[in-house]
């Protein structure tokens, strides 16, 4: 049985990441992880006529490169699971139109990266597909336009604000071949601590990350020391500090492991003005499928747990004064060089 505990899956049939790709925009290309991305675009528009088309292209490119890197063609992929931040997840659905792979659109805000990877792994693990594709992406300008102000509008952002990543990440999950194993996943509950400020996503999302991390250890009966690295998706500086404090309060011995946040890894705080750090579903996707997988293959770590966090608000809900419900999904990835 795949279910373990209350909300976790153990993938006993060893689904693995057979191919992966990460595509980013110019600003991410200036950051410290530049060498780990497959494509860095010099133009934020990606040569398209609108921001939305640019986001669509990011996702399509990531999907295509991931399929190529697995040595497959798109006809061989049975299912495509993906999502993004735009209303009605248009970027992913439009990419699915181009790719013409049977498609399941998912929305978990910035947690979509691990939500789609967990589902793709479940599909492959259950024998429902030979190959499943998980793709997630976001674009800074489309997210700003939809959730905040026009991109060129001069508003002063508070120090808790985060910068949406322009980028997309993709993974081909397969039962065969060579690549890092996806061993387990924990699906998160929606947690709402009553935070209403959309410029303070880190504080809103931190409790959801903590809840999922705790559930993962409880369900699998393991301790943080089981992993060489535990990364959260996009809590950034403020959310990361709060999460660390909460974990300490709940007596989770995080000092056994290396605890980091993707939102604090992709940009250079000194030279890039990003306030608290990065956000967006492209953040955890590009850092995981770019940086983390490369480091796993290089042997820096053997076991990692990626906990992607998402804020499930809409531009209407926060204007009506609703608080921000949040969610986090965790996926563990292992590689010992012989998989």
């Amino acid at each position: 049985m795949t279910l373990r505990g209350h909300q976790s899956w153990i993938f006993e049939n060893k689904p693995r990441i057979f191919g992966s790709a990460s595509v980013v925009g110019p600003f991410e290309g200036q950051g410290p992880l530049a060498n780990d991305f497959d494509i860095i675009h010099g133009d934020l528009m990606l040569g398209q006529s609108t921001w939305e088309k640019a986001e669509n292209k990011l996702i399509e490119e990531a999907a295509k490169i991931a399929i190529e890197s697995a040595g497959l063609t798109k006809e061989q992929i049975q299912f495509y699971v993906g999502g993004d931040l735009l209303n009605q997840i248009i970027s992913s659905s439009f990419a699915a139109r181009t790719l013409s792979i049977p498609y399941l659109g998912v929305f978990g805000a910035c947690s979509t990266s691990m939500e789609s990877l967990a589902l793709a792994s479940l599909i492959v693990n259950s024998g429902s597909a030979h190959y499943a594709l998980a793709v997630t992406g976001s674009h800074n300008a489309t997210a700003e336009k939809q959730f905040r102000y026009p991109t060129e509008y001069g508003s002063q952002k508070p120090p808790t604000a985060q910068y949406t990543v322009t980028g997309a990440g993709a993974a081909v999950v397969s039962k065969h071949g060579e690549g890092p194993l996806i061993t387990s996943a924990t699906i998160g509950r929606v947690i709402d601590m009553g935070i209403t400020d959309p410029f303070n996503m880190g504080a809103a999302m931190a409790p959801a990350a903590v809840d999922t991390i705790q559930a993962h250890f409880r369900d699998l009966r393991i301790e943080p020391g089981h992993y060489d690295l535990i990364v959260t998706g996009d809590l950034a500086k403020v959310g990361y500090e709060i999460a660390s404090e909460l974990l300490k309060k709940h007596h989770i011995p995080m000092n056994q492991t290396d605890f980091r946040d993707c939102g604090m890894m992709i940009y250079d705080y000194e030279n890039q003005s990003v306030q608290a750090g990065a956000s967006g579903c492209g953040c955890s996707a590009t850092v995981t499928y770019g940086h983390l997988l490369k480091q796993l293959r290089a042997g820096t770590w053997k076991r990692i747990l990626v906990v992607a966090t998402g804020a499930l608000l809409s531009p209407i809900s926060y204007q009506q004064g609703e608080s921000i419900p949040c969610i986090a999904h965790a996926v563990s990835i292992e590689y010992d060089g012989t998989n």
């Binding site: 991109t151 060129e152 509008y153 002063q156 952002k157 120090p159 808790t160 935070i195 303070n200 504080a203």
Partner: protein, 163 residues
């Protein structure tokens, strides 16, 4: 809703969490922001003043008539800076300094117009241009109306007492 009512709706766990989050969140640097706003806003006004003086000295305008062409030039400058993607960078440093003068108003309209150009000239540019600037116009007009009425009543009383 008042701050107190809001608190009452939160559960004890939520209240405890928010207290923890508040403690860790970096505070807005209000004093620094005020100084920056004073400097940048002052510089913008100084530029405006120079343009006015130029119009009076070389353009044959009077103190009264130089105002309108000065505003036009300031708006033009702001729109150019917005179009080149510079205004929002300056604004992150300057805050209210670039938001309050007429240049900020121009920026709010130009940025919305650029942003929504892809949705068409009528529904995109026309429909969304006042997305950010709209409230300023609406409440500016309402405030002016109320102040106008108060002014009228006071004047009326004043003249009534005099006669």
């Amino acid at each position: 809703m008042s701050e107190k009512q809001k608190k009452q709706k939160l559960t004890p766990v939520q209240q405890e969490y928010q207290a923890l989050a508040k403690r860790i969140e970096p505070k807005r640097t209000t004093f620094k922001n005020c100084v920056r706003a004073f400097l940048s806003g002052g510089i913008i006004c100084l530029i405006g003043e120079c343009i006015t003086k130029a119009f009076i000295t070389w353009g044959g305008f009077t103190e009264k008539t130089a105002g309108n062409p000065t505003v036009a030039i300031m708006v033009l400058l702001s729109v150019i800076l917005t179009s080149f993607g510079v205004y929002d960078k300056i604004a992150q440093w300057a805050g209210a300094g670039t938001a309050v003068p007429v240049t900020g108003f121009a920026n709010s309209m130009a940025s919305a117009a650029i942003e929504h150009r892809s949705e068409g000239v009528v529904l995109g540019v026309g429909g969304q241009m006042f997305k950010v600037a709209g409230p300023v116009i609406v409440f500016g007009t309402v405030a002016a109306f109320i102040v106008g009425i108060v002014h009228m009543i006071l004047q009326f009383n004043g003249t009534g007492a005099g006669s």
